[in-house]
Protein backbone atom coordinates (compact mmCIF):
# COMPACT_ATOMS: atom_id res chain seq x y z
CA UNK A 1 0.00 0.00 0.00
CA UNK A 2 2.37 2.58 -1.37
CA UNK A 3 -0.30 5.28 -1.33
CA UNK A 4 -0.53 5.31 2.45
CA UNK A 5 3.21 6.03 2.61
CA UNK A 6 2.70 8.84 0.09
CA UNK A 7 -0.05 10.23 2.30
CA UNK A 8 2.32 10.40 5.27
CA UNK A 9 4.93 12.13 3.09
CA UNK A 10 2.30 14.65 1.95
CA UNK A 11 1.17 15.37 5.50
CA UNK A 12 4.79 15.69 6.67
CA UNK A 13 5.63 18.43 4.21
CA UNK A 14 5.16 21.78 6.01
CA UNK A 15 4.73 23.57 2.69
CA UNK A 16 1.54 21.61 2.03
CA UNK A 17 0.15 23.06 5.26
CA UNK A 18 1.24 26.66 5.05
CA UNK A 19 1.15 27.56 1.33
CA UNK A 20 -1.73 29.72 0.08
CA UNK A 21 -4.62 27.35 -0.54
CA UNK A 22 -2.85 24.77 1.61
CA UNK A 23 -4.23 22.66 4.43
CA UNK A 24 -4.48 25.54 6.93
CA UNK A 25 -6.34 27.76 4.47
CA UNK A 26 -8.74 24.96 3.54
CA UNK A 27 -9.22 24.07 7.21
CA UNK A 28 -10.19 27.65 8.06
CA UNK A 29 -12.57 27.72 5.10
CA UNK A 30 -14.05 24.35 6.12
CA UNK A 31 -14.59 25.49 9.72
CA UNK A 32 -16.04 28.85 8.67
CA UNK A 33 -18.60 27.20 6.36
CA UNK A 34 -19.49 24.71 9.09
CA UNK A 35 -19.83 27.36 11.79
CA UNK A 36 -22.13 29.50 9.67
CA UNK A 37 -24.26 26.49 8.78
CA UNK A 38 -24.62 25.27 12.38
CA UNK A 39 -25.33 28.74 13.77
CA UNK A 40 -27.95 29.40 11.09
CA UNK A 41 -29.60 26.05 11.84
CA UNK A 42 -29.57 26.78 15.59
CA UNK A 43 -31.20 30.18 15.09
CA UNK A 44 -34.04 28.49 13.22
CA UNK A 45 -34.36 25.18 15.05
CA UNK A 46 -33.86 26.03 18.74
CA UNK A 47 -36.73 28.52 19.12
CA UNK A 48 -39.00 26.35 16.98
CA UNK A 49 -38.11 23.26 19.02
CA UNK A 50 -38.73 25.07 22.31
CA UNK A 51 -42.04 26.48 21.12
CA UNK A 52 -43.32 23.18 19.74
CA UNK A 53 -41.93 21.14 22.65
CA UNK A 54 -43.45 23.28 25.42
CA UNK A 55 -46.81 23.45 23.65
CA UNK A 56 -46.60 19.74 22.76
CA UNK A 57 -47.83 20.32 19.22
CA UNK A 58 -46.35 19.51 15.83
CA UNK A 59 -44.82 16.16 16.78
CA UNK A 60 -45.97 14.45 13.60
CA UNK A 61 -44.61 17.28 11.48
CA UNK A 62 -41.17 17.01 13.11
CA UNK A 63 -41.01 13.24 12.74
CA UNK A 64 -41.99 13.57 9.08
CA UNK A 65 -39.43 16.29 8.48
CA UNK A 66 -36.57 14.29 9.99
CA UNK A 67 -37.57 11.19 8.01
CA UNK A 68 -37.77 13.05 4.71
CA UNK A 69 -34.47 14.82 5.34
CA UNK A 70 -32.83 11.42 5.75
CA UNK A 71 -34.03 10.39 2.29
CA UNK A 72 -32.60 13.43 0.51
CA UNK A 73 -28.91 12.88 -0.32
CA UNK A 74 -26.69 15.68 1.01
CA UNK A 75 -24.83 15.63 -2.29
CA UNK A 76 -28.09 16.30 -4.17
CA UNK A 77 -28.96 19.35 -2.08
CA UNK A 78 -25.41 20.70 -2.33
CA UNK A 79 -25.61 20.36 -6.11
CA UNK A 80 -29.07 21.89 -6.34
CA UNK A 81 -28.02 24.98 -4.38
CA UNK A 82 -24.86 25.22 -6.46
CA UNK A 83 -26.85 25.43 -9.73
CA UNK A 84 -29.50 27.72 -8.27
CA UNK A 85 -29.19 31.51 -8.70
CA UNK A 86 -27.08 31.56 -5.49
CA UNK A 87 -24.27 30.10 -7.58
CA UNK A 88 -21.69 27.55 -6.47
CA UNK A 89 -19.29 28.43 -3.73
CA UNK A 90 -19.29 28.79 0.03
CA UNK A 91 -22.66 30.56 0.57
CA UNK A 92 -24.51 27.81 -1.35
CA UNK A 93 -22.64 25.13 0.63
CA UNK A 94 -23.45 26.77 3.96
CA UNK A 95 -27.16 27.05 3.12
CA UNK A 96 -27.40 23.42 1.99
CA UNK A 97 -25.61 22.20 5.11
CA UNK A 98 -27.79 24.36 7.36
CA UNK A 99 -30.90 22.74 5.88
CA UNK A 100 -29.55 19.34 6.92
CA UNK A 101 -28.53 20.57 10.38
CA UNK A 102 -32.06 21.72 11.25
CA UNK A 103 -33.80 18.31 11.69
CA UNK A 104 -31.45 16.86 14.36
CA UNK A 105 -31.49 20.06 16.45
CA UNK A 106 -35.25 20.53 16.04
CA UNK A 107 -36.12 16.91 16.84
CA UNK A 108 -33.90 16.64 19.90
CA UNK A 109 -34.97 20.03 21.29
CA UNK A 110 -38.61 19.08 20.77
CA UNK A 111 -38.18 15.70 22.47
CA UNK A 112 -36.18 17.27 25.31
CA UNK A 113 -38.71 19.96 26.12
CA UNK A 114 -41.63 17.63 25.54
CA UNK A 115 -40.27 15.09 28.03
CA UNK A 116 -40.04 17.47 30.99
CA UNK A 117 -42.07 16.06 33.87
CA UNK A 118 -45.39 17.92 34.12
CA UNK A 119 -45.29 17.66 37.93
CA UNK A 120 -41.99 19.53 38.02
CA UNK A 121 -43.42 22.28 35.82
CA UNK A 122 -46.49 22.53 38.03
CA UNK A 123 -44.35 22.74 41.16
CA UNK A 124 -42.32 25.54 39.57
CA UNK A 125 -45.47 27.44 38.67
CA UNK A 126 -46.86 26.92 42.16
CA UNK A 127 -43.69 28.50 43.54
CA UNK A 128 -44.53 31.63 41.57
CA UNK A 129 -42.38 31.26 38.46
CA UNK A 130 -43.58 32.96 35.31
CA UNK A 131 -43.88 31.11 32.00
CA UNK A 132 -40.50 32.38 30.82
CA UNK A 133 -38.85 31.47 34.11
CA UNK A 134 -40.22 27.94 33.93
CA UNK A 135 -38.74 27.51 30.44
CA UNK A 136 -35.36 29.01 31.34
CA UNK A 137 -34.82 27.64 34.85
CA UNK A 138 -36.76 24.35 34.82
CA UNK A 139 -37.31 23.07 31.28
CA UNK A 140 -33.95 24.11 29.83
CA UNK A 141 -31.70 22.38 32.41
CA UNK A 142 -33.82 19.23 32.20
CA UNK A 143 -33.84 19.24 28.40
CA UNK A 144 -30.15 20.16 28.14
CA UNK A 145 -28.75 16.65 27.50
CA UNK A 146 -31.02 16.17 24.48
CA UNK A 147 -30.55 19.71 23.19
CA UNK A 148 -26.79 19.18 23.28
CA UNK A 149 -27.18 15.79 21.57
CA UNK A 150 -28.99 17.55 18.76
CA UNK A 151 -26.35 20.25 18.42
CA UNK A 152 -23.56 17.66 18.55
CA UNK A 153 -25.21 15.47 15.91
CA UNK A 154 -25.83 18.45 13.66
CA UNK A 155 -22.32 19.85 14.05
CA UNK A 156 -20.55 16.57 13.37
CA UNK A 157 -22.83 15.99 10.40
CA UNK A 158 -22.11 19.45 8.98
CA UNK A 159 -18.35 19.17 9.45
CA UNK A 160 -18.34 15.71 7.88
CA UNK A 161 -20.55 16.51 4.90
CA UNK A 162 -18.92 19.87 4.15
CA UNK A 163 -16.26 17.79 2.40
CA UNK A 164 -18.81 16.70 -0.21
CA UNK A 165 -19.08 20.28 -1.47
CA UNK A 166 -15.73 19.76 -3.20
CA UNK A 167 -17.41 17.38 -5.66
CA UNK A 168 -19.54 20.25 -6.97
CA UNK A 169 -17.13 23.16 -6.96
CA UNK A 170 -17.21 24.07 -3.25
CA UNK A 171 -14.33 24.77 -0.90
CA UNK A 172 -13.00 23.14 2.25
CA UNK A 173 -10.85 20.13 3.03
CA UNK A 174 -12.79 17.90 0.63
CA UNK A 175 -10.89 19.67 -2.14
CA UNK A 176 -7.74 17.75 -1.21
CA UNK A 177 -9.55 14.42 -1.68
CA UNK A 178 -11.18 15.50 -4.93
CA UNK A 179 -8.01 17.07 -6.33
CA UNK A 180 -5.84 14.11 -5.35
CA UNK A 181 -8.30 11.76 -7.00
CA UNK A 182 -8.57 13.86 -10.14
CA UNK A 183 -4.80 14.06 -10.53
CA UNK A 184 -4.38 10.36 -9.69
CA UNK A 185 -2.24 11.48 -6.78
CA UNK A 186 -3.67 8.91 -4.43
CA UNK A 187 -1.29 9.76 -1.58
CA UNK A 188 -2.73 13.27 -1.53
CA UNK A 189 -6.27 11.84 -1.73
CA UNK A 190 -5.69 9.63 1.31
CA UNK A 191 -4.03 12.50 3.18
CA UNK A 192 -7.19 14.53 2.55
CA UNK A 193 -9.35 11.64 3.76
CA UNK A 194 -7.25 11.40 6.94
CA UNK A 195 -7.69 15.13 7.55
CA UNK A 196 -11.46 15.08 6.93
CA UNK A 197 -11.97 12.03 9.13
CA UNK A 198 -9.74 13.39 11.90
CA UNK A 199 -11.59 16.71 11.84
CA UNK A 200 -14.95 14.93 12.16
CA UNK A 201 -13.73 12.79 15.07
CA UNK A 202 -12.19 15.83 16.80
CA UNK A 203 -15.45 17.73 16.39
CA UNK A 204 -17.34 14.84 17.97
CA UNK A 205 -14.94 14.71 20.93
CA UNK A 206 -15.03 18.50 21.40
CA UNK A 207 -18.79 18.58 21.36
CA UNK A 208 -19.00 15.65 23.80
CA UNK A 209 -16.73 17.57 26.16
CA UNK A 210 -18.81 20.72 25.68
CA UNK A 211 -22.05 18.85 26.37
CA UNK A 212 -20.41 17.37 29.46
CA UNK A 213 -19.50 20.85 30.66
CA UNK A 214 -22.86 22.54 30.13
CA UNK A 215 -25.15 19.70 31.24
CA UNK A 216 -26.19 19.95 34.86
CA UNK A 217 -26.67 16.84 36.98
CA UNK A 218 -25.30 13.35 36.54
CA UNK A 219 -22.66 13.15 33.80
CA UNK A 220 -22.71 10.42 31.24
CA UNK A 221 -20.80 9.89 27.99
CA UNK A 222 -22.97 9.09 24.95
CA UNK A 223 -21.15 5.90 23.99
CA UNK A 224 -21.88 4.33 27.36
CA UNK A 225 -25.59 4.87 26.80
CA UNK A 226 -26.61 1.29 26.11
CA UNK A 227 -23.89 -0.29 28.19
CA UNK A 228 -25.13 0.18 31.71
CA UNK A 229 -28.66 -0.86 32.57
CA UNK A 230 -30.39 1.73 34.72
CA UNK A 231 -31.84 1.12 38.17
CA UNK A 232 -34.84 -0.83 36.89
CA UNK A 233 -32.53 -3.26 35.08
CA UNK A 234 -33.83 -2.07 31.73
CA UNK A 235 -31.13 -1.21 29.21
CA UNK A 236 -31.07 2.43 28.19
CA UNK A 237 -32.48 2.90 24.74
CA UNK A 238 -30.02 4.30 22.19
CA UNK A 239 -30.16 7.98 21.43
CA UNK A 240 -33.43 8.86 19.73
CA UNK A 241 -33.83 10.67 16.46
CA UNK A 242 -31.40 11.34 13.69
CA UNK A 243 -28.24 10.65 15.72
CA UNK A 244 -27.66 7.30 14.09
CA UNK A 245 -27.23 8.25 10.46
CA UNK A 246 -23.90 8.05 8.71
CA UNK A 247 -22.63 11.09 6.90
Amino acid sequence: MNQFGDAIVYLNDPYNWTRPGGIFDLLVEHLAISAVAVLAAMVVALPAGVALGTSGRGGGLIVGLSNVSRAVPTLALLTLFAVSPIGFGNPATAIALAVFAIPPILTNTYVGFRGVDADVQEAARAMGMSGGQVIRRVDLPLAMPLVMTGIRTATVQVVATAGLAALVGGGGLGQIINLGFGQQNYGEMIAGAVLVAALALLTELTLVALAWAVTPGAKRFPWTATRRPDAAGVAMTPEPTAAGVPL
Binding site: M1, Q3, F4, N67, V68, R70, A71, V72, P73, T74, L75, A76, L77, T79, L80, A82, V83, V156, A160, T161, G163, L164, A166, L167, V168, G169, G174, I177, N178, F181, Y186, M189, I190, G192, A193, V194, V196, A197, A200, L201, E204, P222, W223, T224, A225, T226, R227, G233, A235, T237, P238, G244, V245, P246, L247
Partner: protein, 227 residues
Amino acid sequence: MVLLEAVDQAPNPWFDPSYVIDNWTTILRYLGEHVRLTVLAVLLGAVIALPLAVLARRSRFLAGPVLALSTIVYTIPSLAMFAFIFPFTGLSSTTVLVGLVAYSLVILVRNFLAGLQGVPDDVREAARGMGYGPARLFVQVDLPLALPAFMAGLRIATVSTVALTTVGVLVGHGGLGQLIVGGFNANFYRAEIVTGTIGCVLLALLADLLLAGTERLLTPWARMVRA
Protein backbone atom coordinates in the same frame (compact mmCIF):
# COMPACT_ATOMS: atom_id res chain seq x y z
CA MET B 1 -17.60 35.43 -26.23
CA VAL B 2 -20.57 34.93 -28.50
CA LEU B 3 -20.60 31.26 -27.62
CA LEU B 4 -20.58 32.03 -23.89
CA GLU B 5 -23.54 34.35 -24.28
CA ALA B 6 -25.45 31.68 -26.12
CA VAL B 7 -24.83 29.23 -23.27
CA ASP B 8 -25.96 31.79 -20.72
CA GLN B 9 -29.20 32.50 -22.50
CA ALA B 10 -30.10 28.92 -23.31
CA PRO B 11 -33.08 27.77 -21.27
CA ASN B 12 -32.05 25.56 -18.34
CA PRO B 13 -35.31 24.32 -16.82
CA TRP B 14 -35.35 22.58 -13.41
CA PHE B 15 -37.21 19.63 -14.87
CA ASP B 16 -37.55 18.47 -18.45
CA PRO B 17 -39.67 15.43 -19.38
CA SER B 18 -37.89 15.14 -22.72
CA TYR B 19 -34.59 14.63 -20.87
CA VAL B 20 -36.12 11.69 -18.96
CA ILE B 21 -37.54 10.17 -22.15
CA ASP B 22 -34.40 10.64 -24.23
CA ASN B 23 -32.09 9.24 -21.55
CA TRP B 24 -34.38 6.54 -20.22
CA THR B 25 -31.90 3.67 -20.69
CA THR B 26 -29.08 5.61 -18.98
CA ILE B 27 -31.33 6.50 -16.06
CA LEU B 28 -32.47 2.88 -15.73
CA ARG B 29 -28.87 1.66 -15.76
CA TYR B 30 -27.88 4.00 -12.93
CA LEU B 31 -31.09 3.19 -11.05
CA GLY B 32 -30.26 -0.51 -11.37
CA GLU B 33 -26.78 0.04 -9.96
CA HIS B 34 -28.24 2.12 -7.12
CA VAL B 35 -30.76 -0.58 -6.20
CA ARG B 36 -28.18 -3.36 -6.46
CA LEU B 37 -25.67 -1.52 -4.22
CA THR B 38 -28.34 -0.65 -1.65
CA VAL B 39 -29.85 -4.14 -1.42
CA LEU B 40 -26.45 -5.85 -1.25
CA ALA B 41 -25.13 -3.39 1.36
CA VAL B 42 -28.13 -3.77 3.67
CA LEU B 43 -28.27 -7.57 3.28
CA LEU B 44 -24.54 -8.06 3.89
CA GLY B 45 -24.69 -5.58 6.78
CA ALA B 46 -27.58 -7.50 8.36
CA VAL B 47 -25.84 -10.87 7.93
CA ILE B 48 -22.75 -9.55 9.74
CA ALA B 49 -24.63 -7.47 12.31
CA LEU B 50 -26.92 -10.19 13.66
CA PRO B 51 -24.19 -12.47 15.11
CA LEU B 52 -22.34 -9.41 16.42
CA ALA B 53 -25.45 -8.19 18.23
CA VAL B 54 -26.10 -11.65 19.69
CA LEU B 55 -22.50 -11.83 20.94
CA ALA B 56 -22.63 -8.28 22.32
CA ARG B 57 -25.79 -9.05 24.27
CA ARG B 58 -24.19 -12.11 25.82
CA SER B 59 -21.18 -10.28 27.22
CA ARG B 60 -20.86 -6.77 28.61
CA PHE B 61 -17.16 -6.77 27.67
CA LEU B 62 -18.00 -7.06 23.99
CA ALA B 63 -20.90 -4.60 24.01
CA GLY B 64 -18.64 -1.68 24.98
CA PRO B 65 -16.09 -2.02 22.16
CA VAL B 66 -18.79 -2.84 19.59
CA LEU B 67 -20.68 0.37 20.40
CA ALA B 68 -17.52 2.48 20.64
CA LEU B 69 -16.31 1.21 17.28
CA SER B 70 -19.69 1.86 15.69
CA THR B 71 -19.62 5.46 16.99
CA ILE B 72 -16.24 5.97 15.32
CA VAL B 73 -17.35 4.45 12.01
CA TYR B 74 -20.47 6.71 11.99
CA THR B 75 -18.29 9.73 12.40
CA ILE B 76 -16.00 8.99 9.43
CA PRO B 77 -17.38 11.01 6.50
CA SER B 78 -18.42 8.90 3.52
CA LEU B 79 -16.11 10.75 1.12
CA ALA B 80 -13.13 9.91 3.35
CA MET B 81 -14.37 6.33 3.77
CA PHE B 82 -14.47 5.72 0.01
CA ALA B 83 -11.05 7.36 -0.36
CA PHE B 84 -9.63 4.97 2.26
CA ILE B 85 -11.07 1.90 0.56
CA PHE B 86 -10.11 2.98 -2.96
CA PRO B 87 -6.42 1.85 -2.82
CA PHE B 88 -7.60 -1.71 -2.08
CA THR B 89 -10.43 -2.15 -4.55
CA GLY B 90 -9.83 0.55 -7.17
CA LEU B 91 -12.35 2.08 -9.55
CA SER B 92 -15.03 -0.56 -9.02
CA SER B 93 -18.44 -0.70 -7.43
CA THR B 94 -16.82 -2.94 -4.77
CA THR B 95 -15.24 0.20 -3.28
CA VAL B 96 -18.67 1.74 -2.82
CA LEU B 97 -20.19 -1.53 -1.60
CA VAL B 98 -17.56 -2.05 1.12
CA GLY B 99 -18.12 1.48 2.45
CA LEU B 100 -21.90 1.12 2.39
CA VAL B 101 -21.73 -2.25 4.18
CA ALA B 102 -19.62 -0.64 6.92
CA TYR B 103 -22.23 2.08 7.50
CA SER B 104 -25.29 -0.18 7.34
CA LEU B 105 -23.49 -2.63 9.61
CA VAL B 106 -23.01 -0.12 12.41
CA ILE B 107 -26.61 1.12 12.21
CA LEU B 108 -27.92 -2.44 12.28
CA VAL B 109 -25.69 -3.64 15.14
CA ARG B 110 -27.01 -0.83 17.36
CA ASN B 111 -30.64 -1.46 16.55
CA PHE B 112 -30.34 -5.25 16.69
CA LEU B 113 -28.64 -4.99 20.08
CA ALA B 114 -31.29 -2.58 21.38
CA GLY B 115 -33.99 -4.98 20.15
CA LEU B 116 -32.40 -8.01 21.79
CA GLN B 117 -31.81 -6.12 25.05
CA GLY B 118 -35.46 -5.13 25.03
CA VAL B 119 -36.61 -8.77 25.29
CA PRO B 120 -37.77 -9.13 28.94
CA ASP B 121 -35.64 -11.51 30.97
CA ASP B 122 -38.78 -13.03 32.57
CA VAL B 123 -40.04 -14.13 29.17
CA ARG B 124 -36.74 -15.78 28.28
CA GLU B 125 -36.62 -17.41 31.70
CA ALA B 126 -40.14 -18.74 31.27
CA ALA B 127 -39.28 -20.13 27.83
CA ARG B 128 -36.17 -21.83 29.21
CA GLY B 129 -38.28 -23.23 32.06
CA MET B 130 -40.64 -24.69 29.45
CA GLY B 131 -37.70 -26.55 27.95
CA TYR B 132 -36.75 -24.27 25.02
CA GLY B 133 -33.22 -24.85 23.76
CA PRO B 134 -31.00 -21.88 22.75
CA ALA B 135 -31.90 -22.08 19.05
CA ARG B 136 -35.63 -22.38 19.64
CA LEU B 137 -35.46 -19.62 22.27
CA PHE B 138 -33.82 -17.34 19.72
CA VAL B 139 -36.17 -18.10 16.84
CA GLN B 140 -39.47 -18.30 18.72
CA VAL B 141 -38.96 -15.82 21.58
CA ASP B 142 -36.15 -13.33 20.91
CA LEU B 143 -36.78 -12.82 17.23
CA PRO B 144 -40.51 -12.01 17.34
CA LEU B 145 -40.11 -9.71 20.35
CA ALA B 146 -37.14 -7.87 18.85
CA LEU B 147 -38.68 -7.69 15.39
CA PRO B 148 -39.99 -4.09 15.61
CA ALA B 149 -36.53 -2.83 16.59
CA PHE B 150 -34.93 -4.97 13.85
CA MET B 151 -37.27 -3.57 11.23
CA ALA B 152 -36.74 0.00 12.47
CA GLY B 153 -33.00 -0.55 12.05
CA LEU B 154 -33.42 -1.99 8.56
CA ARG B 155 -35.55 0.97 7.51
CA ILE B 156 -33.03 3.55 8.76
CA ALA B 157 -30.14 1.59 7.22
CA THR B 158 -31.90 1.28 3.86
CA VAL B 159 -32.97 4.90 3.58
CA SER B 160 -29.56 6.25 4.57
CA THR B 161 -27.80 3.75 2.26
CA VAL B 162 -29.86 5.03 -0.67
CA ALA B 163 -28.71 8.57 0.15
CA LEU B 164 -25.08 7.58 0.77
CA THR B 165 -24.70 5.63 -2.47
CA THR B 166 -24.63 8.97 -4.32
CA VAL B 167 -21.22 9.75 -2.79
CA GLY B 168 -19.87 6.80 -4.80
CA VAL B 169 -19.50 9.27 -7.69
CA LEU B 170 -15.98 9.77 -6.34
CA VAL B 171 -15.04 6.42 -7.89
CA GLY B 172 -17.61 6.59 -10.71
CA HIS B 173 -20.13 4.16 -9.20
CA GLY B 174 -22.64 6.39 -7.42
CA GLY B 175 -25.81 5.06 -9.04
CA LEU B 176 -28.18 8.00 -9.49
CA GLY B 177 -25.47 10.21 -7.97
CA GLN B 178 -23.79 9.94 -11.38
CA LEU B 179 -26.69 11.96 -12.81
CA ILE B 180 -26.41 14.57 -10.05
CA VAL B 181 -22.69 15.25 -10.46
CA GLY B 182 -22.80 14.47 -14.19
CA GLY B 183 -25.38 17.23 -14.67
CA PHE B 184 -23.25 19.62 -12.63
CA ASN B 185 -20.22 18.88 -14.78
CA ALA B 186 -22.28 19.13 -18.01
CA ASN B 187 -22.49 22.90 -17.67
CA PHE B 188 -24.94 22.88 -14.72
CA TYR B 189 -27.62 20.90 -16.57
CA ARG B 190 -30.46 21.26 -14.06
CA ALA B 191 -32.83 18.72 -15.60
CA GLU B 192 -30.28 15.91 -15.14
CA ILE B 193 -29.49 16.95 -11.54
CA VAL B 194 -33.15 17.17 -10.54
CA THR B 195 -33.96 13.83 -12.22
CA GLY B 196 -31.19 12.14 -10.20
CA THR B 197 -32.35 13.80 -6.97
CA ILE B 198 -36.00 12.89 -7.44
CA GLY B 199 -34.97 9.34 -8.31
CA CYS B 200 -33.02 9.03 -5.06
CA VAL B 201 -35.81 10.40 -2.89
CA LEU B 202 -38.48 8.24 -4.56
CA LEU B 203 -36.29 5.16 -4.26
CA ALA B 204 -35.73 5.83 -0.56
CA LEU B 205 -39.43 6.39 0.12
CA LEU B 206 -40.42 3.31 -1.89
CA ALA B 207 -37.91 1.13 -0.02
CA ASP B 208 -39.18 2.51 3.29
CA LEU B 209 -42.79 1.75 2.33
CA LEU B 210 -41.86 -1.79 1.26
CA LEU B 211 -40.11 -2.44 4.58
CA ALA B 212 -43.00 -0.93 6.55
CA GLY B 213 -45.38 -3.24 4.68
CA THR B 214 -43.14 -6.22 5.39
CA GLU B 215 -43.15 -5.33 9.07
CA ARG B 216 -46.95 -5.24 9.10
CA LEU B 217 -47.10 -8.67 7.46
CA LEU B 218 -44.52 -10.13 9.84
CA THR B 219 -46.16 -8.81 13.03
CA PRO B 220 -49.89 -9.61 12.75
CA TRP B 221 -50.16 -9.52 16.56
CA ALA B 222 -49.34 -5.80 16.65
CA ARG B 223 -52.45 -5.07 14.58
CA MET B 224 -54.61 -7.30 16.78
CA VAL B 225 -53.64 -5.34 19.90
CA ARG B 226 -54.52 -2.05 18.27
CA ALA B 227 -57.86 -3.22 16.89
